[in-house]
């Protein structure tokens, strides 16, 4: 066991294993750098977690960092981001993660890409496989959204950002914070401030992502929490006691306008009947009746033709392709000129990550 080594030596060894290249983003609690593993030349992302000692009100290691580390140490799946290494150096905590240069949000926004039905099926399949792995390890992700579904050069989709993830299924799983999941993807039961909820919240988010893939625009983009609930009811009809047993109990202080349910087929004209059926099951009001990952993977949508596109044939962003070439040059000879020629894309990514940080609500 290597653990009997002096800690400083060991840290230094790991530190030397990676070459830090370029800052690619900054979030609320971490800076992300792109780096290279010296031995293999593999590109990695280094997440440096700030541990400011003097800051007033600091609580030691960020809770989200602890969550991320705890969950990623347990998960290993082709559709979940890989935690390659982790070390502390000069009172900083550094996570070495897989480097993926694109995410589903960027792909959805890039209007030059055309989505075919098999492409959407392929992304959905990979998302559900990754999520199924999390759920089978009793981990709730709690922040599923296209922005957190990274896409690699080989087209593989990977679930990332476990900063809100937590264990589920321990006997003391009470007092869970309802302030989770980015609002547009938040399940309706979370708006009623429950102290307990389950895997169904992730499924709702995946349903929203599915709808977004079909529509090419966020499906339920609410301005505020209440507006979001209103929007959900508008789109799917105000739930009755039959749709969601216990709903009238939950909403006893609130008055909602009664919307009647319009069939999803009206909004999603291009989608097949299987796709609509799966979407409907994912966007079910009653969390107990909502489909789970296992059932979703066995749904006829994935079994019927057309087959999902193989990951390496999925549409990609063109800018990403340029990136690849440039990175190769960079890897072979890291000169100053090359470093200067950063593409717009990377700046955008950095911008996005910092925006993301601002958007996120800090939760205890």
């Amino acid at each position: 066991m290597s653990t009997f080594q002096a800690p400083e030596e060991e840290e230094l060894q790991i530190e030397n294993k990676y070459l830090k290249e370029k800052k690619i983003g900054e979030g609320t609690y971490a800076k992300v750098y792109r780096g290279i593993e010296r031995a293999t030349g593999r590109t990695v992302a280094i997440k440096k977690i700030k541990l400011v000692q003097t800051e007033i009100g600091s609580q030691g290691i960020e809770l989200s960092a602890v969550r991320e580390v705890k969950c990623l140490r347990e998960l290993r799946h082709p559709n979940v981001i890989e935690l390659i290494d982790i070390y502390s150096h000069k009172s900083n905590l550094k996570l070495v993660l897989e480097y993926l240069d694109s995410d589903l949000e960027m792909i959805i926004k890039d209007k030059s890409i055309l989505f075919q039905a098999p492409d959407i099926k392929s992304w959905m399949l990979m998302t559900l496989r990754g999520l199924d792995h999390c759920h089978r390890n009793w981990i709730l992700h709690r922040d599923m959204k296209p922005n957190n579904l990274l896409v690699g050069k080989d087209g593989q989709l990977k679930i990332a950002d476990f900063g809100l993830a937590r264990d589920y299924g321990d006997p003391h799983a009470k007092n869970m914070s309802p302030q989770v999941v980015t609002r547009w993807y938040r399940a309706p039961e979370l708006f009623f401030m429950p102290s307990q909820y389950g895997y169904a919240v992730d499924i709702w988010s995946v349903g929203c992502i599915f709808a977004e893939l079909l529509l090419r625009t966020p499906y339920l983009a609410g301005e505020s929490d209440l507006a979001q609930l209103e929007l959900i009811f508008k789109a799917l009809g105000t739930p009755t006691e039959e749709d969601w047993p216990g709903f009238s109990e939950l909403a006893r202080d609130m008055k909602f306008q009664k919307y009647s349910r319009t069939p999803l087929q009206v909004h999603f004209k291009a989608a097949g009947s299987d796709a609509i059926d799966l979407l409907e099951k994912m966007l079910t009001y009653d969390p107990n009746k909502r489909i789970n990952t296992r059932e979703a993977l066995l749904h006829s949508y994935f079994r019927k033709l057309p087959r999902p596109t193989p990951p390496d044939q999925l549409p990609k962003q063109k800018k990403t392709q340029e990136n690849v070439i440039q990175q190769k040059e960079l890897n072979s000879k890291p000169t100053i000129q090359n470093r200067g020629e950063q593409t717009e894309h990377r700046k955008r990514k950095a911008q996005e990550i910092s925006n993301k940080g601002e958007k996120k609500i800090h939760r205890s």
Binding site: S2, Q59, V66, K70, R73, S88
Partner: protein
């Protein structure tokens, strides 16, 4: 990726001969005492902060693992215990503020529990130390922060029991739960699987409360098959737990401890109980009882963690001698432990 291949089940021989503290010249007895005193501190602080037992067990596991990899002479037991609590509170999602943890630590390290003393500087020093130690502990533990604990095995087992008297079941469950709690005072979680510890606790609790477990194959699964544990390991583990409650004989007490004092009121408190446990189960475990269970109605409610402790009620003030509650500099730690160690710390006499 060396840091990722850590195996967290240690060899007992390593614990006896080859811990970092041993290489720094600490004897086995000394380490045992120090470990125990630190654990007592951890428990006191946790109880003070009203932390759930599940989180306490996580913190205790971190603590024991940490001192298998680092020496007591380089890291103070109280500081590590405090930082372990903070880290465990985060991983188990039962958040406590760092100010709460550090003020509670200061209180128990000072050994003056009166609420009127408020030394801001001292609390500040504690919170600075804890913040500094926390990432170091996480790194030492290879960031393996998810811990499997025996409680879950016990609760799952209790769910399979049907048709028992409610009070009887409650009594049995409480005993088993308390035995698991006590197992964390010794580094047992380093050597045994959670399933084994839970099963040993179930066995001992059943013996203490005359609870009839299924030991007859014709009535379905045998109880140790339900908990999925190896009977051989179970026997060893039962013996270990019983040994941890045993009052050591005179000749087993090392001379440096004997000097410090031989009388302590808590000996008598716990003595009878210890005898009872030892007598009830030390010979050929698992083979004494052949009566099989009778179906009765009953619903189980899990025991509340706060209501149960078998360990003697030593007040923290007696626990050890640390000057003024200040954070002691590295290197002068294990000098003056009192006689408490003598009664509590002979859990493993494997000379």
């Amino acid at each position: 990726m060396a840091a990722f291949s850590a195996n967290w089940r240690f060899n007992k021989a390593d614990y006896i001969n080859n811990t970092p503290s041993r290489r720094d010249g600490t004897s086995l007895t000394e380490e045992r005492i120090t470990r125990r005193v630190g654990m007592k501190f951890l428990l006191n602080v946790s109880w003070n902060l009203n932390i759930p037992q599940n989180t306490i067990a996580t913190a205790a596991t971190y603590y024991h693992r940490f001192f298998m990899l680092r020496s007591f002479k380089k890291h103070h037991k109280y500081e590590i215990a405090g930082a372990c609590i903070l880290l465990a509170c985060k991983t188990e999602e039962t958040m406590r503020k760092i100010s709460q943890v550090s003020s509670s630590c200061a209180k128990f390290a000072r050994k003056d529990l009166s609420p009127y003393i408020k030394d801001e500087g001292e609390i500040e020093a504690w919170s600075r130390t804890i913040k500094k130690k926390e990432p170091m502990i996480a790194a030492t533990l290879c960031f393996d922060l998810a811990i499997n604990k025996p409680y879950k095995v016990l609760l799952d087992f209790l769910k399979t029991l049907k048709g028992f008297d409610k009070n009887e079941l409650q009594n049995f469950a409480t005993h088993a739960w308390a035995i698991i709690n006590d197992s964390y005072l010794t580094p047992m979680c380093l050597f045994q699987k959670p399933e084994t510890i839970a099963s040993a606790a179930i066995y001992i609790a059943a013996q203490m409360t005359d609870f009839q477990l299924n030991i007859n194959p014709s009535n379905g699964l045998l109880w140790w098959e339900v908990t999925d544990c190896n009977v051989r390991e179970l026997g060893i583990c039962v013996q270990e737990i019983l040994d941890s409650y045993r009052v050591p004989r005179e000749e087993e007490i090392s001379p440096d401890v004997r000097e410090n004092g031989s009388t302590n009121p808590s000996v008598t408190v716990n003595d009878n109980l210890n005898r009872e446990i030892v007598n009830s189960g030390s010979t050929t475990p698992l083979m004494n009882h052949t009566t099989h269970l009778e179906a009765r109605n009953g619903v189980h409610t899990p025991p509340s963690p706060s209501s149960i402790t078998i360990t003697n009620g030593v007040t923290p003030a007696q626990d050890d001698e640390m000057e003024d509650g200040q954070i002691v500099e590295d290197g002068q730690i294990v000098e003056d432990e009192t006689a408490n160690g003598q009664i509590e710390d002979e859990e493993m006499d494997l000379a």
